[in-house]
Each structure stands twice: as structure tokens, then as C-alpha cells.
Symmetry: D2
Subunit: 344 residues, 4 copies
């Protein structure tokens, strides 16, 4: 099957190329860029020398529809909202990695993204696809909205508790930390090496745009109240950890909680629940599509702490996008995603 | 005044030397080590070449009492408990940087440190000294127990809310992050560079020994319930950020909270409350004795988020120890502590 | 074919597992450790959860010979010299990643490694295998000595110049820099995070044990004089850059040198020579088996500068070992080594 | 004495403020910026909160001459060449930290900087000031050109060898490495965190603009040939190491060389020559004005290796500028520069 990547010069785009290049079914047919067309992708990314010898093409929706079986949109929020409809109208199958089609209420989008939302009709058609939580909705669609990185780590960490009705409403607090690659390639005083190295920062305090996305999905799982969520920048490139706090409704033991998680994720190829008393570090999923978890019941406070880690560019972006593409086309869900974490 | 540092080869010890070497009143008279006596300190710390040309001495309490006006104990927990009493019996003035004399209930010490506690009589004599919160207890004592690094960042962040009675019991959650220097010089598989670089870890989940210390002080400030607290390792050397969450008792505006903090810390030379909407990063206090803060009221959830940062080796250890020594001897509280953050 | 890894808990061992686990021909049959036998490898390396579910076995040469087609010895210098002979006597095919069998003159080994050398008879049988330079010697052997990481980067960078007789004797200076993973898992004051982060160090000044190894191979390529070589530690985990300086014998232009390199490495799947004026950074080979190069002729001084980068755990250790194993068994040389650099 | 800093929002400017703020004689009177005038410096640098409460002023040469005793120009190359003459015409005493007045031959400037040079008349008046090498020229001048960071580390490392005539012409190779703060605050794809973290890069291969500056000074010391020099970016913020190679003219022992260095720098307060066999790491001078060195004679090759480290923002920029200012005004040379390295 022929695949294309729009926004191939971004980090999400580069990660898609890394995955697709060795995918058993998808084949990289074309790469696109709105700003660097005509340039070789190797000029931007020397690490792809001899591997992806392609020239960045102009985005021509009709030609794309003709040529490709699937298009990955690795463009930033505010850009996908313009390109996706053009592609969909031509009949393309589209997986969008941006935040533009995740929020069903376009007013929420305006409030949190401070940008013009995508047209409601296309938002309505997009399937928000987090396979472990709504796999059945993904098959046979043509337009997938890929979840955000923080949302993925948080929702996978919370889902067993919420689905089993174990935690109190209004009790969820998520303290999330991300490597800097989540910020992409925007060059500003705030993203240069000197400002971030040997430094730890909080940003978008109580205002991160993944909050409504998480709440929307939590609501569908049965948790109806707003959450407290904060995001921090860690001086490293890849990796997200969400440290999740919630109040347990009743006395439930560590062993019972462990069992809930193990049962919930028993058949999931990309979820690894650590043994009792062990908690994952971000490097243990580096470069892979895994989401690893550890859970601790604190009897002193009646709260549970869930630690959930992913590689933000893999399970948090490109890896999950390919996982969704696999499901959409009825392929083996893990096809092309057998990456072992690079350690150390 | 003649000062000595016991445990001078540790990082807390090195930081004490950096401060004391340019202190207007204290003068480094002797440095001590239980394991490296007879060795020049420069052999361990080449950065002190030509600056601290001393040889590490054996710990002889009687001789120390004779010679020194003040002794800083920069030894680890479990060691201070043995050395401090010997020094105190000889009449020394002691500032202990370890955790051995912080918890008034020695059963708590055993539970959280999993070590044999110091004798109750000496624990009783120790003054837990966090100047901004209990300055008046510090003067004219002979034995100071210096607060822990996480405790300092957390307590300074929470104090205005607790003292003003603004937050609900049982609502405090502290998600704390530290640079690796807090782990000292213990060499193990878990502290080598390769295991920590480009990695983010949680450790001692719901079990950090600073929890009872924080709760003990919070209780004296008027907050009586257990807190949820977790600690993480950031791939950087220095710096702590405590991200603190609590539920507000009533509708209180961002402006009112800002005023509470500004009033509370108005005359404090080492506390810097950021302007509304601005939050500190750890590097903004690097190498200095400042504790910087930012506060955010989240009207969606009724919670407040307080961000508190310190340099763990300064305000979190050596800097605060010298601040306490200044108070104890009636010196200018900021004497020898005018370090400007090293930035970038 | 059944493969085993001895020393599987080291970083070289972990990297071998990452490669072999997806190798089309080799299959990980057993993993061995001299110190942790009986323990699950996942207990040491949680990142291998659900991937390498094996228990570390005791090293029993006879059983290993019975069971395995090939054994990778990822043990440190001084250990391989004892284990390899036992395996070879039993008829095993062995690829040794240590330095114990690289130096043909065992007196050199003693001088540079300051350890007891391996028996001369086994050293004589070992084939030093750097495929791009002596591929033909590798086939049909049973005992391969895998080159050192610095040696690989340096020799591949120098080979075209030396083979073409372009540089003057006595003119080679190699200034090499490595990420910390080259130091393995030895835990000491000098390898802890705090001592290496935000720091740049030189070590083993003019005394690195890879010097005689490089000189031995250079001699076989036609360069007979000693080289100046120094090694530095970079605060990062993976990657080596060798910056190589040599005096050109005659006026030779940048274009001519470029052609020499392009011709020399034209058919090599793992060597990527950059375009004129472009030089590789270490991250451009991260996690892959590539060696990337850039060359600059300095007409002011009559010297050439060659920049050669590898991932020290891949082309500098495990990747090259598998490449050698592929050659040895007549497999496709790139089998199981199609790793795209992980970027960023 | 009243001091001003032009270009105070740059990193060199920030470091000047850190030094001057506690200087016994100089007092920060005004700070200037060409682009951010009217803004508080704290808005750009929150770490200066409560310390440097100034507003950035417009650059008015006449007013500056009226008001200030000394002006530090911490502006980039290409900017100083325009501002310095305006200040000098008004009679200001100026210390310029840029490269604009270092090269006596303005054609060299054009060749290496690829920018329009400063007027020859002003270049002629500038005194290139590296105190340890030409202290006597510095007193009683009004216009100082402060050396480059790489130049400082390299020249101090080479000077004893060159002055004593110990090394052969045409033999010097300098392999230099710098933390990223040397690149300042320019925001581009190449300076963002993600491109530099966990990466090691060479740049300006055989083309760094400090080459002619080093050669100009070496020439005045007695070494007349061009040098080979390369610069690399280390994933850290501060610190430079120059690894220097040269061929010894005759058999000279390690002990003799050590004596040469110890004698040469015996009375220098900021130079620390390590004991035989010990080599400095960059962190050992972090935040201080020291230049630390180690020397190794390699009898195998007849070469000497000199390792020279500085903090690029201190001895490589702001620290040296203040040292020069001290000399210029006849103050104690170390005044305001007693910074102990921040370690770890």
C-alpha cells in the first residue's frame, strides 16, 4: 500500500518515515512539505541519507488521492484544519496527528487552542482513535484523529480506574512531564538549548490544550468532572511521564488494583504493566510504541498514584498513527511496530 | 569566627566550602572526613585548587570543641546521629544537614528512614530551622537541624495558604522533581550517568522520608492531614521544583492569592514571588539561596497550583545552613549568601 | 541459527539482544551471566519486558557448544581471555567483543591493558574483523575478535588516505570523543551522573588501549608510524566522533579527496560519506550501524581533517559483531541491521 | 566607578551583570539594549529579580560618556564595530567583547568574519588584552578588545611552549570543544534543544574566525606558522576545552615541561596548572575566572598534549573583561572575580 507523509520535515514526520520505511505493508511513496518543496529530505535530515532519498513535493490533493492509499498529516495545529478537508474531499484516507480534529465541540478548540477551528462537518467525521480504549471505532473509517501525546499517557493510565468506577469524581490530578521534542522545531528564545539544558520548567499552567481532549475521552469512559493537569519540560529529547493522582472510592488493596490493571491490559501488545512495587522510567520505552505503567496505592491518604510513560514521538504520535493505520486496514495491529526500546 | 565542616567531601560539604570561603564572618578553619582523613581536599575536588588548600582531618570532638565556634555536619543520615551527640556533649554549636534530628517522633524516623534513630534526648534539643517560617526559634540555640531539600521547597510553597487557612484538609498533593545531586555520591548501577541521562524517573513512590518532615511542620502551621507526595529524578545536576496542588476552601481570586503570597514574603530576602502569570524555572535560582514561586488559581477545578523552586544544594542544604548560622549568631541573615544565580 | 549472548547484562549485551531479537536468521536461544545467573534479564533491564523473557544461565562451555551455533562474548577485557578458550576448545563459533584478542603481540596487551594477556595460541587464531577493511578474512573462521569502538571510527576514517598513500608518516593525530555508554556499568565516583553531566573530560591521555590496536591495523594498511590519539568523555550516552588530522603528501584538492572517499566506500552499505562541506554529527547515526564521514582539506596548513562518527554500541560494538557474524555464515551482510537512526 | 553594559540581554551581558553586581569598585549604573529598550531586564532574565531592577535604555553615546566611567560592549560582531567608534569619539572608556577589533589586519576580518570590518583607525587604537600574556599594554588605555573564548584557552595553553621556543613550527593542532552558550541566543533550527542534546557536532571546520586571532598573538609570541584549529559543540551550556597538540623540538621530559608551565604561571591568580598526570575537566572552572591546565609529553610520538579549560562566559568573556577593566584602572586584578567554581 502506498503511503505519503505531509509535514515530513517535522519530528513527527521523521518518526513516521523511520517506522514506514520498514513496514511490511505500507511503503513510503511521497513526502510533502508546504515550505520546503523541491528540497531533498536528506538536506534537512542527514540521518536519512541512503534511506529516504526523496524530494519534498508540493501538496496537491487531487494527485495525492490518485496516487496514495493513505496520507499521514504530520502538520501542526492550525495547518491540518486547512489541508485535511481538501484531502478528504478528494477521497483520501487521512490520519491526522495534529490537535485540529480531536475536540468534538469546536468552541472548546477555540478556547484552548486560541485558533480558528476546523469546520464542524469535518470534525464530526473524524474518529478519535486510541486503540486500547476504542479499537472498534477505528476499523473502516477514512479519517482518523490521532490522540495527543499527553492525552495518550494520561488516558491509558486512568482508563482501568475509570472504567471500573474505582475513583471519586473531582479527584484526578495529572502532573505530566515531557521531553523537549514535543515542542517540535519552533525556534525561539524559549526553545534554544541554553534555555532548556540543566533546567526544569512548567508551562501552560492549568491551560494545556490537551486538557479538554482528556476530559472528553474520560467522559465517554464514565468520569464526568474536570481534571487538574499540568505540563513540564524535562531536559531530555524524548519521553513523557504522567504521574496521576486520584482518590479511591473505597478501601481497595494494592493487589486488587494490580489485578484490575493486569486484566484490563492483558491482551494489549503495547501496554506493559510493571510488577508490584516497580515503576517505569521514560527511557524504558525510548524509540518504541510501548506504554509502560506502575501503580501505587497509598493507604495513608486513600489515593492511588499511577505512573504512565511513553515515547512522545512513538505511542504519543507516529507509532500510534501507524497502529491506527494498521487497524483501519485490517492489518496485524503491531505490523511495523516491533521496535525494541533503545537502551541505554 | 572559626567554622568547620564534617563530611567535606560530599556535595553538601563542597557547597558549604564555596559559601564559607567568602563569608564575611565565618572562616573555614578545618575540614573533616570519616573515610578520607589525611588526604588533601583538592585531591577529591580539583575545582578547589588554590582555594581550599586543606587536609582532611580526623573527627575528634574534644579538639573540635576547643578550636571551632561552629560545626556544620554534612554527613549522611545514619552518620550524623552518631557524631552530633559527641560534639554536643563537648559543647559545640552544631548545624546538622542530615535527616537524623528532624523528626520529633523517633518512631517516625525508624518507619521512614529504616534506620536506627538518634537518641530521643538529642532529638528533643534540636531546633528544626526553616527561617522564613520559624525564625524566632533559631536564635540562641546550639543545635540546629537543617530542613530537607524537598521539605524546604514544599513548605515555603504551602505556608501562606496554610497559615491563612485557605485550603481544605486532605487536599494537598505535591509532585516534586529534583536534579541528581540530591542523591549525593553514592555509586551504584542506579546513579551512573548512563542510567539517568535522557531519562526521567520516579522513586520512593509514596514513601519519601521527607513526607513526615513536611507533615510535622504543616501541622504546626495548622494543616493536620497527611499529604500525598512524590519525588522524581530529572536529568540535571541541580534544582528542585515542587508542583503543589490544593483545593481552595472558597472562591478566592488569583489577585487575592497573589496578595497573600506577596504580603507573606514581603520582607524575606530569599523569597521571590513571580508576577501574575509567570512561573519560575529551576535554573533561575541555580547556585543561589533563593526560593522562587509562582501561583495559579484554576477556577475550573477550584484548586490552586503553587510552583516552588530552589537549588537543592543551596536553599535546600548548605545555603540554608549558613542562613541559619547567621541567625543563630545574630549576624546579618544574608551575610555570605549574596550569590546571584548562574545563568545560563 | 541459535545464538547466545554471554555478558547479556552489560550494555553491549543489551544491544546484541536488541539486534538479534529481530534478526531474520539468528535467534536468541540463551543468555548468560557470570554474576547474575538465575535472575530474569527483565529484572536488570525492564525495557526488555515481554520481549526477551529469559533467565540468565550459568556459563557451561560444553552445553553451550551442544546447543548454540554462535556465541557472542560481551564480557569485559580480562574476562573474555578466560572464557573464550574454554568455548573454542568445545568447538564453539565465537565472536568476542572485548579487547582481549585484538593485539597480536601479547606484550602490547600487557603494556596497554595492564592485565594478564590471553594465551598466545588463541590470540593467534583470532581474526580481527573490520569488514570494510578485511572482509575476506572473516568468512569461514570460527573465532572473531571484534574491533574497539574508537578503533572502528578512526580506522574507517583513515583507511582511504592510508591505502592511497596520501598522507605523511608521523603526521596522524586523532582527537576522539565518546558518549559515556562506552564506560559500561562500572559504578564509581567517576561514573556517577553528577560528575559527568554538564562536564567535558579528557581521560587516559596518550594512553588509551585502542592506540596499539589502531596502529596494528594501520600498519597492515601501509602506515607504519605511531599515532597521537586522545579520548574524551562527552555528556551524552551514545556516539563517538573521531576528528582526525594528517598532513597530505602533496597538493591534493578537496574534490580529489572527496572522490577518493566516495570510490573507496562506494559499495559499502554502512558507510555514508557526506557531500562536500557537510560534516556528520553523532546523532545522525544514533542506534544504527552506520559510520558517517566528512572530509576537509585545509590548504593553509596542508592538512586534511576527517570527521568520522559511529554509535559506539552499534558499529562500535554489537552492530559490527552481528555484521561479522553475517559475513562469517555467508548471510546477507546487512541482515538484521537495517536500523534507521533514531532522530531526534 | 560607574559602569554600563551595552547588550545586557545577551549571555555575555548577563554574566557581566553577575560579576559587576558584587564588584567592590564598579557599580552597574545603566544597562542598554538596541532592541529591547524600555523593557525591564527582569522581564528577559527573571533570575535577576530583586537584583538588577533596571530598565534597558537606549544607546546614547553622549549621555553615556557623561554618565559612565566605563562601558562594556557585549554586543555581537558586526554591531560593536558601529557602536564602539561612537562611544570612543565621545571619550568613553570601552571594553569590547566582540571580535570586531581583534584583528589588526581588517582584510583578515573580512575574510574570516564575512562582514564589513570596523574602520582601520579604530582597530589601530584597540588594545588586544590577554592579561597573562600582555598585561603591560593594558594599563592606561581607553579601548580594549577582549579576546575570544577559544583564543583565550588556546593561547594560555600554548604560551609557555612558544615563549620558551620548545615546539616546532607548523606543528600546532588545536582541537577545541565548547558548551553551547558560546552560540548566544540566536534562535534557529540549529540551536534548538532537540538538535543539540545527546549530540556532538563539529562546526566551521578549518574556518573558525578565532584562527587568525590566535595566529596573530602566537606570532607576537614567536610562533610564525598557521595552525590547524577545529571547534566542536558539546551538549552542555558552559565550558571550553582546548586539546592542543604540538611537536617538541628536542627530547624534553615531562618534569621539565611541568616546570616550564609552573614557572610561567607561578604568579598568575587565575591560572592553575594541575599536578603531573592530572588533567582538568571543564566543570572544575564552572562559573569562575580560572584557566586550568594539564600537560602530557608523549615520548612515543615526540609530541606534547596540553589540555586547557575555561568557562567561556567568564575567562572566555565577561570575567576576562572585568579583569582587564581592573588592570586598566589600576585596581587589584582579581577584584570582584573571586568566584569559586560551582561544583557539581
Amino acid at each position: 500500500m502506498k503511503a505519503g507523509v505531509i509535514g515530513a520535515t517535522g519530528y513527527g514526520g521523521a518518526e513516521l518515515l523511520r517506522i514506514l520505511q520498514s513496514h511490511p505493508t505500507f511503503q513510503i511513496e511521497s513526502v510533502y512539505s508546504s515550505s520546503q518543496q523541491g528540497k531533498s529530505i536528506v538536506d534537512h535530515y542527514p540521518h536519512l541519507t541512503d534511506i529516504v532519498p526523496m524530494t519534498l513535493e508540493e501538496i496537491d490533493p487531487a494527485a495525492i488521492a490518485q496516487k496514495l492509499d493513505i496520507v499521514f498529516l504530520a502538520t501542526p495545529s492550525g495547518v491540518s484544519s486547512e489541508i485535511a478537508p481538501l484531502l478528504l474531499k478528494e477521497g483520501c484516507t487521512v490520519i491526522d496527528l495534529s490537535g485540529d480534529f480531536r475536540l468534538k465541540d469546536i468552541n472548546d478548540y477555540e478556547d484552548w487552542y486560541k485558533k480558528k477551528p476546523a469546520p464542524q462537518e469535518w470534525v464530526d467525521q473524524a474518529v478519535y482513535a486510541l486503540p486500547e480504549l476504542n479499537r472498534s471505532s477505528i476499523k473502516d473509517t477514512k479519517f482518523i484523529s490521532n490522540p495527543g501525546c499527553y492525552s495518550t499517557a494520561t488516558l491509558l493510565g486512568l482508563a482501568p480506574l475509570v472504567r471500573q468506577g474505582l475513583i471519586e469524581e473531582k479527584s484526578v490530578i495529572v502532573d505530566a512531564k515531557s521531553g523537549v521534542s514535543g515542542a517540535g522545531q519552533t525556534a525561539s528564545f524559549h526553545t534554544i538549548y541554553n534555555e532548556l539544558n540543566e533546567n526544569f520548567k512548567i508551562y501552560k499552567v492549568n491551560a494545556h490544550q490537551h486538557i479538554p481532549e482528556i476530559e472528553q475521552m474520560l467522559s465517554s469512559l464514565g468520569y464526568e468532572s474536570p481534571i487538574t493537569f499540568n505540563s513540564h519540560l524535562v531536559p531530555m529529547t524524548r519521553g513523557i511521564m504522567a504521574t496521576i493522582y486520584a482518590t479511591l472510592k473505597s478501601d481497595i488493596s494494592q493487589e486488587e488494583i494490580n489485578k484490575v490493571y493486569n486484566d484490563f491490559y492483558e491482551d494489549e501488545p503495547f501496554i506493559r504493566v510493571r510488577k508490584n512495587g516497580i515503576f517505569p522510567a521514560t527511557k524504558e520505552v525510548y524509540g518504541s510504541n510501548f506504554c509502560d505503567m506502575g501503580i501505587s496505592v497509598d493507604t495513608r491518604t486513600g489515593r492511588v498514584t499511577v505512573v504512565s510513560v511513553i515515547d512522545n514521538l512513538m505511542k504519543g504520535a507516529a507509532g500510534q498513527a501507524v497502529q491506527n493505520a494498521n487497524i483501519l486496514f485490517g492489518l496485524e495491529e503491531t505490523a511495523g511496530l516491533h521496535f525494541i526500546p533503545v537502551y541505554p
